[in-house]
């Protein structure tokens, strides 16, 4: 009797031990699967939204307190590192050009016929009074390089099933410490993104809509950027025309093209 009494706790301990190992192993496996899955989702979104080269004609609608301003531009981009934008309308902005090469940004103003390079704090200024900063446009590192991601939950957003991803910075110099991205499970298009400060304060929100299939990709043709600390309706970015992987002459991404 005593022997049984002595053995039982040992057995119990063993069982508990095995169960614990199984639980940890299973949890670890699930976690690992989730990390891969979240990263995969981001990569799939990246593949869907981005292409080697792109030409986009778009309207930027800046909602002001009293009135709205619409700025039309044509943008050329090659990967994340090179981009060239020419403003087409209104007349006040027509001819203004912007060139981004790696981490350098130049702006050409036709009224002064001068090209200036933006750096340091100047990059933190708003782009033409919108809710976007030059720095927001300059970010060229991949999200997977900067953030540790995981799937938080599955949610329905505008009758679409989405994964809610949480991205927490793994590098020190990420502008936003945390991001929440809602990704359409079927189309691999982000439908909403929220950007947070270190304290957890929501800073900016991007809402994507008018999702259309273009050249076999699902693409949001309207994006609303909103600084959540400010009152107002934010800035709309409406894609009028888009070409994926067109041939772009090399000289477009040179300083010479600013004055042309």
């Amino acid at each position: 009797m005593n022997k049984t009494k002595i053995l039982n706790p040992i057995k119990m301990k063993k069982i508990k031990y095995i169960l614990a190992i199984i639980t940890i192993a299973t949890f670890g496996f699930v976690m690992q699967a989730q990390i891969i899955s979240a990263e995969k989702i981001i990569n799939k979104v990246d593949d869907n939204i981005n292409s080697d080269t792109q030409i986009v004609v778009s309207d930027m609608v800046i909602h002001g307190k009293r009135n709205d301003r619409t700025i039309t531009s044509k943008g050329y981009s090659e990967g994340h590192k090179k981009s060239f934008t020419e403003y087409l309308a209104p007349a006040r902005e027509e001819g203004t050009k912007m060139l981004k090469l790696e981490d350098r940004l130049w702006i050409y103003s036709p009224s002064t016929d001068r090209t200036i390079q933006l750096s340091g704090h100047m990059l933190r200024q708003s782009v033409m009074g919108s809710d976007l900063s030059y720095e927001d446009m300059m970010e060229d590192r991949k999200l997977t390089e900067m953030y540790r991601s995981k799937i938080l939950s599955e949610e329905t957003l505008n009758v679409r099933n989405t994964w809610k991803l949480e991205l927490v910075a793994k590098v020190d110099d990420a502008t936003y410490y945390k991001r929440m991205i809602w990704v359409d499970q079927e189309r691999f298009v982000p439908l909403k993104e929220e950007l947070f400060a270190k304290s957890g304060q929501l800073l900016k929100k991007t809402t994507m809509s008018n999702i259309e299939k273009i050249d076999g990709r699902w693409y949001p043709k309207k994006m609303n950027y909103k600084d959540m600390l400010k009152t107002g309706e934010g800035t709309d970015f409406i894609v009028k025309e888009i070409q994926f992987n067109p041939k772009i002459p090399v000289e477009i991404f040179s300083k010479g093209s600013l004055r042309k």
Partner: protein, 384 residues
Amino acid sequence: MKLALQLAYKNLLGAGLRTWLNVAVLSFAFVIIIFFNGLMDGWNQQSKQDSIAWEYGNGHLRNNNYDPFDPFTLQDGHAEIPSGVNHITPVLIQQGTIYPEGRMVSVLLKGISPDQGIIKITTASFKTSSVRFPAIIGNRMASSAKLKIGDEVLLRWRDKNGTFDASNVTIIDIFDTTVAGVDSGQIWMPIETLWDMTGLQNHATIAIADSNYTYKAVEGWNFETQKDMLQNLDDIISMKKYSTAILYLLLLAIALLAIFDTQVLSIFRRQKEIGTYIALGMTRTQVVRLFTVEGSMYSILAMIVGCIYGVPLFIYLNKTGIGMPQASQDMGFSLADKIYPIFGIQLIIGTILLVTISATIVSFLPAKKISKMNPVLALKGKLQ
């Protein structure tokens, strides 16, 4: 000379209203010159005292990469507080944005030790506060951002790596200062709190020196003396002095023109008198002197009249001060809501000399003609 003075005095009084009109205009110019210069001197002295008490201390030790006139240098214009330097209060300056009522307002975040006593910012109130992010602001900032004591306002800033952070800060005190340089668009916080917020431990942008500070060269830091810092203020005041000088010099020119006209008219109308003086034995030079003294006596009478109404006015203004409009106080330099003019002896003597000498010159110019007059024709009253 005594005779000239007596005659000049009698002639002036004899001229009656004409004399008093000239004296009135000249006395007005005299009072205005003293008033404007006194106002500028008062402003200068008040601004200097306030700037030293609220902002400059005994000078600033500045990080080499920081230029107070270029906000873009704030990002890199800081370094660890230099060791071995005593009698300084370090101040870390960073950029931030507050959102009062959903409006976006750019601010400078200034971290300072709660124990400092070099400048008059009411930092002691940090010691009694228990809130996580205490902040004190000046009255201009409070009024422009519509903030009051106890209010919480959302502040967004970046840490040393450029990552955004945001939190509510609580306004625990509002100080009343004339120095916009420590007030407009600025939020003061305990330096330890700002270090924690930004991750810039032990860093400072400037250090304010106290009266016991002795300069010794520190690598990476420049020392700007109190005198250097006050130079800007001196330059502004002297520029203002020149611009106001145009106004009162115009007034003086009108008064002198009146004296000049009176002299020309006197010489024209009093030719017989001039002839009589020469006939009675006065030399032409003595007659010229008589007329010149007569002209310059306007300035003496103007001073007496100016003193009668000017002295009580100046005493009153010196006690009550002159109110400055609210809009002008938001300029980048120190300007009180009231300026107390200073009427120094140097200013008064300078003005007396300016008015007297210029009145003498304009009196002498027409009187010169007398030296070329034919006494016989003058006695007959014929035009020459």
